[in-house]
């Protein structure tokens, strides 16, 4: 009798603790037993599943997927497929299906934004000083000569089966869409393998997915950066996500000083310099995390023209300006937005 009661009663929330999963990944287990968080791809990962009994299995699966993304797509690992493809500029290179998918996503982003989200700025990013994983980057970097971006070089990137060809003289950098693609891979894989509703945030690029008829609505906190979220700054708000993607891009994170000037990681391919934008951060919904991230990155690059561009493309977006004011596109679900309490 007592056992039956216990089995039917929701388990008390687990205390926050660190659990070590297969492969050595340490997961932080917050008070929600269906949640896990850890670091991967140089950023944070938050994972939630509807069935807490499979949370450990889901976290291990997600960690494995993210590890594969790192091996395939990192420009900071000399053994990655991406580095091999970049080093063989102008020649075909066989790569993993993970990188093929990542390049397809990057090219789709470039095409849908007319090149505002450009994956061929790798050489420029390195010359600007962002040549290693960001946590190892000094706050001030040496000033090397900056290459001029090759307009439209992304349209010369070719894919044929399991082979990719990067144009000579440019290098792919999948930093803009790579994390979002990873979030999509994680969510789809967990639903396929475990049959459970899931939400995952990979550095702010969020994907929710569920088996048919098992959708769950998840709370998502929006913040310019993780510090603002930790400090519970007033601009932090909460929205919900049931299916699809949600992404936030910001110019307050990943900043450094080069030749006395402040740089951030969102480069304007039209100028080869950090995007000049009035927005601290832009958040958008999309069919998947990659689509959402494409919209937010393009919005930062477009600057003042972003609200009109987003509205014209039917994107539900929320733009936080440097003065704290907020702009929303007509399709943004204002009724779902609430203060974080």
């Amino acid at each position: 009798m007592t056992l039956a009661l216990r089995a039917a009663t929701p388990q008390p929330p687990a205390e926050s603790r660190v659990r070590r999963g297969a492969g050595g990944t340490a997961y932080d287990v917050p008070t929600d037993p269906g949640s896990r968080s850890w670091r991967a791809l140089g950023t944070y990962v938050h994972l939630g599943v509807a069935d807490a009994t499979v949370a450990d299995e889901a976290a291990a699966l997600a960690a494995a997927v993210l590890s594969e993304v790192d091996v395939a797509c990192s420009r900071f690992r000399q053994d990655s497929d991406l580095v091999r493809a970049n080093q063989a500029g102008g020649h075909w290179v066989s790569v993993s299906p993970i990188l093929i998918g990542a390049v397809r996503v990057a090219l789709r982003a470039a095409h849908s934004t007319d090149g505002l989200v450009d994956p061929t700025l790798g050489e420029l990013m390195v010359a600007a000083g962002y040549d290693r994983t960001f946590s190892q980057l000094p706050s001030t970097v040496e000033a090397h000569a900056l290459p001029v971006p090759v307009a439209g070089a992304w349209s010369d990137v070719r894919i044929d089966g399991d082979r990719v060809r990067v144009p000579h003289g440019v290098a792919l950098d999948l930093g803009a869409t790579g994390k979002a693609y990873a979030a999509d891979l994680v969510a789809l894989t967990i639903v396929e393998r475990l049959g459970v509703a899931v939400v995952v945030s990979v550095g702010g690029d969020v994907r929710a997915h569920a088996p048919a008829g098992a959708a769950v609505t998840w709370p998502v906190d929006l913040a310019p950066d993780l510090r603002a979220w930790s400090d519970n700054d007033p601009e932090v708000c909460r929205v919900s996500l049931t299916a699809g993607g949600l992404a936030t891009s910001s110019v307050t994170a990943r900043r450094w000083v080069r030749a006395g000037s402040a740089w951030h990681h969102v480069l304007d391919p039209r100028t080869g310099r950090p995007a000049q934008t009035p927005w601290l951060s832009v958040t958008a919904y999309g069919d998947c995390a990659a689509d959402a991230n494409t919209a937010t990155t393009a919005a930062l690059v477009l600057g003042a023209d972003a609200p009109e561009w987003l509205a014209r493309h039917g994107v539900a977006a929320r733009l936080l300006a440097a003065d704290g004011s907020v702009r929303r596109t007509p399709t943004w679900p204002t009724d779902l937005e609430e203060s974080r309490t």
Partner: protein, 129 residues
């Protein structure tokens, strides 16, 4: 975890032959040295694209997932759900009353415990990073 998928690909090795292995020419004239070095560099560049090795890609990501993620879609058809539709629908089963065992007084059946509300899902964060 279920079995991993294995995909086989052919990888063009990015090995570059050393161009500093020219030996025995220390006393040769400079023009000949430069010509040999140029030949070595050309050979190394050719080797970069000509050398082919086999590599097996093992991945936990299925081909259908990779395709769906690359095209912005979802999995189709959706797999059968393994859990209930909502994580807030957990309900305690009614507890059967214990039968009295030769007791003079009837035993009052315990009331089924009211289900506690399930914990709210912890929020995930969407921020610049």
């Amino acid at each position: 975890m279920t079995a991993m998928h294995a995909l086989t690909g052919v990888v063009a090795a990015a090995t570059v032959a050393s161009t500093g292995a020219i030996t025995g020419l220390a006393a040769a004239d400079t023009a000949q040295q430069q010509a040999l070095k140029a030949q070595a560099k050309a050979a190394a560049a050719q080797q970069t694209v000509a050398e082919v090795v086999d590599r097996t890609y093992r991945t936990v990501v299925s081909e259908s997932v990779t395709t769906a993620a690359a095209t912005g879609g979802s999995l189709s058809p959706s797999p059968k759900p393994k859990t209930s539709a909502s994580r807030t629908t957990t309900v305690a089963k009614p507890v059967a009353a214990p039968k009295p065992v030769a007791a003079p007084k009837p035993v009052v059946a315990p009331k089924p415990a009211a289900p506690k509300p399930a914990p709210k899902p912890a929020p995930v964060v969407s921020s610049g990073s």
